[in-house]
Symmetry: C2
Subunit: 310 residues, 2 copies
């Protein structure tokens, strides 16, 4: 059965409102925000990835879910498959310590299991956070007329993966974006109040925007030419439509996608400036459904593959 079919079955038993219909980045139980992600060798990370970077990413992707709900992290629990490789295990713990110190998140506990020889390394992480006093924004809160925003730059991590696979000449900015995503925790907390809807971009800007549109019953209109691309990406790729579509469908960005009343724009810019985070308006929400793409005022058909499906 596909992941979507399985989640549909799970949804039939996840009837508590705290589960948010299994359709948000995290569960919201009273003032707690809870998320759990697993990563599997060969599926979510390359077998030759550095263990420090695997640990970093395992934590960062979960903290990014907390960021998307405006939550302040309270701690994490780790589920670890012992690999039988002493150097690997030791380097993983070093990376885990590094990312937890960077975001000042305590390691609370977890579990360690042996795995059969040859089995892929499988790790899980649960992150617990405190919801903002004004409530955790949902994916489903978009209102027609909202301005759509995204933090940081898009597509660097996807290009970093292509570099890791030897398809593109490497540069450190894109490799770092792929290996060491930076969850937008401070910005997510600061912005939680003005926003109407927020989620993190993990599978690709377009597929995640599509999910936000579906959850909200709105259409998200995105102007592809406004999607923020880094100098490092534009040093390797020309600024043409194909580059922008590739960046917007690559995934692994761990930036925040959010919408707010257009009257909130100056507040949002002030918060972004104070935290030294780029926040860029990329379109508007309207009545309708799905995503509507334009590039320099030309309507563009959405690509068949909107992002990473898993």
């Amino acid at each position: 059965m596909s992941e979507a079919d399985f989640i549909a079955r799970l949804r039939s038993i996840a009837t508590d409102p705290a589960a948010r219909g299994l359709a948000d980045d995290a569960a919201v139980l009273g003032d707690l925000v809870l998320t759990h992600d697993m990563i599997v060798e060969g599926v979510h990370f390359l077998p030759d990835e550095r263990p420090q970077d695997v640990a970093w990413k395992l934590v960062a992707v979960n903290l990014s879910d907390l960021a998307a709900k405006g939550a302040a992290p309270l701690g994490v629990l780790v589920g670890y498959s012992l690999t039988g490789d002493e150097h690997w295990d030791a380097a993983f713990v070093r990376g885990l310590g590094e990312v937890l110190r960077r975001y000042e998140v305590p390691l609370l506990g977890g579990d360690t299991v042996g795995i059969p020889a040859g089995a892929p390394r499988t790790f899980g992480l649960t992150a617990i956070g405190k919801a903002p006093a004004t409530g955790a924004p949902a994916r489903s809160g978009v209102r027609p007329g909202d301005q759509i925003w995204v933090t940081g730059t898009i597509g660097d991590a996807g290009l970093g993966l292509a570099m890791r696979l030897g398809q593109v000449d490497p540069n450190e900015t894109c490799l770092d974006a792929y290996r060491r995503p930076q969850p937008q925790l401070a910005f997510g907390q600061a912005i939680a109040n003005p926003v109407h809807a927020m989620m993190d971009v993990s599978d690709g800007l377009l597929i995640d925007a599509q999910r936000m549109a579906e959850a909200s019953g709105c259409e998200l209109g995105i102007m592809l030419e406004t999607i923020p691309l880094s100098a490092a990406l534009l040093a390797v790729r020309p600024d043409v439509l194909d580059t922008r579509l590739a960046a917007a469908t690559a995934g692994d960005d761990y930036q925040l996608l959010f919408t707010a009343d257009s009257g909130a724009a100056s507040d949002i810019r002030a918060i972004a400036a104070a935290l030294n985070v780029a926040a860029t308006p990329i379109g508007h929400a309207g009545v309708g459904d799905g995503i509507m793409l334009t590039h320099r005022a030309q309507r563009i058909a959405p690509p068949e593959r909107l992002g990473f499906m898993h």
Copy 2:
């Protein structure tokens, strides 16, 4: 690296008091109790186990950790490896629904991942609970002079596993104990106040008692003849020392091991009677360290293997 070595390294970064030095059944963060356990096919469950029973056990073992801290469950997050086997996945969801309804615990969220063909099924579960108002008992609270107690009967699940492996003629009581452990949630919550120390018996009564002794800096003296054995077990095994040592080192019991002032005995018996749970005194704590075993007033050397090491 061994699990113990790995946990020792993790401990060096798990310095927050909420982690309880990674030496308790669960983390205790303010009034929250948090636990995460993973299970791996071929390691923690047999490849031909019924998926409903795998789901039951995944939830039950985590709820048992909450029970050991006297916590009331608030919800769970599940990490699921899609198996590619539609019947298996569907039966797992049914079993998950069944155990969550039985203990009235909401499914809050989680993650679903694809795994490479042939990889062992690996599942994780995080359970969140509310600590008792008087605080969550630790493993480390034993005081010399305490009476040592255990709930239910010991060794049934271990015998059930032997039955599953075709080593012993099957009976339903022991098979059920193996397949569908019953976490002592109500008793754990009711008893949290009088007890000095509490943990659940997962790897074997003796190894878990040894861990409690180490955490507390006390000696736990256990009278093997008092360990409660079920009629179903005694129908298959004679009541001799070897049977009692086998039961006390088999694991998978998910009963509660706890200590309290001997003056609390009548309160404990009253709580047990009210909840229809067996609670049996099995010895006393003293000054010293480790476990001290006797059988009908004869000193017995602890067996080399005290339980399931992993």
